[in-house]
């Protein structure tokens, strides 16, 4: 569960990104975050995995008060969240398998469990057969699937995605969306910032629209609502 109470964010340069946001996202929900560029979507997302700290207000995420935690507790919070980005953020020198295993090594998982678990999630994103390839030998959609596998490998309760289909063609985007849907069906909360009108309007979910740093709209089975 994610909750925000009267959250404000002003950057050091004076930009006010969020102005009094209140939100409650239940466990197992699938939420789109939409809105014009520069309206505060990215800030909203970054506050959840504590890349940014709110200037004012409280944020609760899976039992942590993210707005209050100490620097050294951040890793603990991050281990309960999987993040996916528009640019995939894969390590180019590591193979597909190694990229996914990396996320387990880094949190000091038992090495015996790494291989079976990595193969498991690679099976989920249907890339088992490309485990030994390097990221630049894969298509964009495949790379995003590797990134998704990496986000999932440590069994997080929440997946946060910042424009995961932003760099993909429509057909590949749908493949990725189906994976997100499948992950959500298994009980994982999904929060996704997106500009993809077609997807939001077709795969109907809760829509939170952020405009000028405030929540303009919050509807179940909502529409995209912007003419891009």
């Amino acid at each position: 569960m994610i909750e925000m109470f009267d959250v404000w964010k002003t950057y050091p340069n004076g930009t006010s990104a969020l102005k009094g946001v209140n939100i409650r996202i239940e466990k197992g929900e699938f939420v789109y975050v939409v809105g014009p560029s520069g309206a505060g979507k990215s800030t909203f997302i970054k506050l959840m995995y504590r890349e940014e700290k709110p200037s004012k207000g409280q944020i609760f995420l899976g039992g942590f008060n993210v707005s209050r935690i100490k620097e050294r507790q951040i890793p603990t919070v991050r281990r309960s969240i999987g993040v996916v980005f528009q640019d995939f953020k894969l390590l180019p020198t590591l193979t597909v398998f190694e990229n996914v295993a990396f996320a387990m090594e880094v949190i000091e998982s038992n090495p015996k469990q790494i291989k079976p678990r990595v193969m498991d999630v690679l099976g989920l994103v249907k890339l088992k057969h490309k485990a030994k390839m390097l990221p630049n030998e894969l298509s964009g959609g495949e790379q995003q699937r590797v990134a998704l596998a990496r986000a999932l490998v440590n069994n997080p309760g929440i997946i946060i995605a910042d424009e995961p289909t932003g760099n993909l063609d429509p057909e590949t985007s749908w493949e990725i969306m189906k994976l997100f849907e499948e992950i959500n069906q298994r009980g994982t909360t999904v929060v996704m910032a997106t500009h993809n009108r077609e997807i939001v309007n077709t795969m109907r979910k809760r829509v939170i629209a952020i405009e000028a740093g405030q929540i303009a709209r919050d509807e179940q089975r909502g529409e995209y609502g912007y003419e891009d």
């Binding site: 890793p75 603990t76 919070v77 991050r78 953020k89 990396f102 000091e108 090495p111």
Partner: protein, 298 residues
């Protein structure tokens, strides 16, 4: 931290050295170069210090006793001087012995003093050495106050100048060593910073999937340590071999005179090696940790 994780950090550190081969080479060269200069200065400074010490050790106080001081009083005086805490040694030179020494110092003109044995005009004397040569003047002042002392002599004026000179040499040496040390640190920090910039993405991903800061730092720590130590080994070998041949050359050309004594090869080489290794390791670790700090704030 688990042992297995430590193994991973060491592997990663070594792998990164190879992966950024040229940058590592540049860093190690920077360490090698600066530590070599530092080592030369260290050897120089230690020898200057050794020379200064041997000169300083020759400083002594000659205390001349008043005429007709009784044997008991002489003994009492010697005890009292020994009891002073700045005193290293006290040596008694009786008037007869003083005359003998004096005649010897005159060489072939010694006959001029024939017959003086009966009415020896020389006083009984003591030679006093201070534990710390720099304390000589203070000690001399203390002794001057004591009973039965007629006069004393420790080369007043000359001694102070000598100490001022040796102190200057020491301080300049230390200043140079500190300055060079900082230059080396700066160079390493800079080179490691470049290797880290290249691995920025890796650090970012590690942070995002929940690695602790120390988990991220360790491989860099290992890498810096290895660079510092490798960089120190080369100058240690060069300095050791170079000094050996220098000693050899000096020995054959100055053997007779004994004018020019340098510190022996051992333990000097050990000391310099230890110092360079410690400095190399320290600046390597420091450089890598300082550079990585900036990238941990994701």
């Amino acid at each position: 931290m688990k042992i297995r994780t430590l193994g991973r950090h060491v592997r990663e550190g070594v792998k990164n050295l190879g992966r950024n081969g040229w940058m590592s080479f540049a860093s190690i060269s920077a360490v090698t170069f600066t530590l070599f200069i530092l080592g030369v200065f260290l050897v120089l400074a230690m020898n200057v210090n050794f020379f200064a010490q041997s000169v300083e050790k020759q400083v002594e106080i000659r205390v001349f006793m008043a005429d007709l001081t009784t044997k008991e009083n002489l003994q009492q005086f010697e005890q009292d001087v020994r009891a002073l805490d700045k005193v290293e040694s006290v040596q008694f030179i009786s008037k007869d012995e003083g005359l003998k020494q004096f005649r010897e110092s005159m060489g072939d003109k010694a006959y001029l003093f024939d017959g003086l044995e009966k009415g020896n005009p020389l006083p009984d004397a003591f030679v006093v050495k201070a534990k710390m040569p720099q304390d000589t003047a203070v000690l001399a002042a203390q002794i001057k106050q004591m009973k039965n002392v007629r006069s004393l002599n420790y080369g007043e004026g000359t001694v102070e100048k000598l100490f001022a000179a040796t102190d200057t040499v020491r301080n300049v040496g230390i200043g140079f060593i500190i300055g060079l040390g900082f230059t080396a640190m700066f160079l390493i920090a800079n080179t490691i910073k470049l290797t880290i910039v290249a691995r920025r993405r890796e650090i970012e991903i590690m942070k995002l999937v929940g690695a602790t800061n120390w988990f991220i730092r360790w491989p860099f720590f290992v890498e810096g340590l290895l660079m510092g130590i490798t960089g120190a080994l080369i100058p240690i070998v060069i300095l050791g071999v170079g000094y050996y041949y220098l000693l050899d050359a000096i020995k054959s050309s100055f053997e007779a005179t004994q004018l020019f004594t340098l510190l022996p090869l051992f333990p000097l080489v050990y000391q310099v090696a230890l110092a360079l290794l410690a400095i190399g390791a320290f600046i390597g670790i420091w450089g890598s940790l300082v550079s990585v700090r900036r990238f941990l704030r994701v």
